[in-house]
């Protein structure tokens, strides 16, 4: 009997601790129009604890009269967030299992592609609202985000933005003063789990989130048509369609020289997301 009491006490204690978190997000209820905002917060929860606590603290400020309606809406949203993260992590965990499995490489690649596709579906269902000040980067093992991120070859001033984009995915590219980032978490996730420069080999690299508001150097959003008109042009000064498509597909944003540590939040490796 004594043994049984402990779990019950623990449950009660956990329920008490969690109670404040089940407060209404918006007192006006959960219309679908508000759903995207909440989802943006859910991405932050993947990224850091601060991201979770910020929206929660906001909930207190917006406490309204109709607690029941708001609570239902909040629970619904919270369930969706948990479900989304759960599905995403499950997919990633499966992909890691694929990495370490003994199947032939084609099968592994197929499985990995399926996993990535499922993760994409999960992201698609949520219809992520892009945060214009946040970008992502998959970092190499030798990079230390706690010290900042630095361009591979800052001395190679002559490399143009178009040159960086065109040649950046070639084996013999020697780098440039630009640091590649992506506006898309989906692209970052795919690059973190699949080495597209090595036969799509499974990998588990760290993803960092970068707050552009804290980036001190110049950056170039290569998906912006005005930036494309200025920098993604061929030698005749005409639109270089191929390179523009490369940039659009990768949702590429380049930062010059370095990114300070203050701007960087380490999200971790895909295999760690579920833990």
């Amino acid at each position: 009997m004594k043994r049984l009491k402990f779990p019950y006490l623990l449950c009660v204690l956990v329920a008490l601790l969690l109670f404040p978190f089940f407060q209404p997000d918006q007192a006006s209820g959960e219309g679908s129009a508000n759903f995207n905002d909440t989802v943006t917060a859910s991405v932050s929860t993947v990224e850091s604890d601060d991201g979770l606590l910020e929206p929660i603290s906001d909930w207190f400020g917006s406490l309204g009269d109709n607690i029941e309606v708001a609570l239902d809406g909040l629970k619904d949203t919270f369930d969706k967030i948990v479900s989304y993260i759960g599905e995403l992590f499950e997919s990633v965990e499966e992909s890691i299992a694929v990495f370490t499995g003994g199947g032939d490489s084609n099968e592994e690649i197929t499985n990995l592609n399926n996993t990535i596709d499922r993760a994409k579906e999960n992201l698609g269902d949520i219809s992520l609202e892009l945060d214009e000040t946040t970008v992502y980067r998959v970092i190499r093992e030798d990079e230390e985000p706690g010290k900042g991120i630095f361009a591979k070859a800052p001395e190679r001033e002559h490399i143009t933005i178009a040159g960086h984009v065109n040649n950046g995915s070639k084996k013999n590219f020697k780098g440039s003063k630009y640091i590649s980032t992506t506006k898309s978490f989906e692209v970052a996730l795919e690059n973190a789990t699949k080495d597209i420069m090595n036969a799509g080999k499974a990998q588990d690299l760290r993803i960092v989130q970068i707050d552009l508001g804290k980036v001190t150097n110049t950056y170039y959003d290569l998906t912006d048509p005005k930036v494309q008109d200025k920098y993604l042009v061929n030698s005749k000064g005409e639109p270089w369609e191929k390179v523009r498509r490369y940039a659009n597909k990768s949702q590429e944003l380049l930062v010059e020289y370095s990114i300070p540590q203050e701007a960087i939040t380490l999200l971790g490796r895909p295999s760690e997301f579920g833990s």
Binding site: G163, N166, S169, N172, G200, N234, E241
Partner: protein
């Protein structure tokens, strides 16, 4: 189908093909077939001409080297498929650029020195192909001349075939880097060629 429509298909399918390869999605057979079909027809039309439309030059210049480069990012079987596609495209390109060149007197005047400088010392590119390294002095001379005539060249609606072949050779210096690194095991020379390639790339590509 008229040449303009064919060219649109040619450029669009080339871009789509390369975008998918860059994203790690492999060779898109449908885009490849579309590209080959459009290019075959265009190559047939241009075979007897002395020049080709300038709009087609960039895709023709970059397709083989880009395909080859991307093949290195794939596993054996897929890499082989991509290289076969590259070879097939190269055959069409040779067909398209066959025949002699410059019939326009003004174009001949503009490009004469460039062609002459490249042909000196048994040929700038031929020497590199044979593993004799890059003649830096010759490169500087050629590069200066290329820089001098570049604006004029890019204003032409039609580009003479010999000049297209030269631009291809410059763009494909990138591939010589691998040859020097792996086949000739001459890293220093490979680095020199790569640096030269980057300078030319900025001028002729973007």
């Amino acid at each position: 189908m008229n040449q303009s429509s064919l060219m649109n298909i040619f450029i669009e399918s080339e871009t789509a093909l390369l975008v998918e390869l860059r994203m790690g999605k492999g060779l898109d057979r449908e885009q490849y077939e579309t590209f080959i079909s459009a290019f075959s027809e265009l190559a047939g039309q241009w075979e007897k001409e002395s020049s080709i439309p300038s709009r087609a030059v960039q895709p023709i210049m970059e397709i083989y080297a880009d395909l080859y480069q991307f093949s290195l990012n794939y596993s054996d079987e897929e890499a082989e498929r991509i290289r076969e596609a590259a070879q097939q495209i190269n055959k069409l390109r040779e067909q398209c650029l066959s025949g002699d060149g410059i019939s326009d007197r003004h174009q001949d005047d503009i490009t004469r020195d460039l062609i002459q400088y490249i042909d000196e010392n048994n040929g700038f590119f031929a020497q590199m192909e044979q593993g004799r390294g890059m003649d830096e002095e010759q490169f500087e001379k050629v590069f200066r001349e290329l820089t001098k005539v570049h604006d004029e060249i890019t204003s032409w609606e039609m580009i003479p075939k010999p000049l297209v072949k030269i631009l291809i050779s410059f763009y494909e210096m990138d591939l010589l880097v691998f040859k020097y690194e792996e086949a000739f095991e001459m890293q220093e020379e490979a680095d020199k060629i790569y640096d030269a390639y980057e300078r030319v790339f900025e001028l002729i590509a973007g």
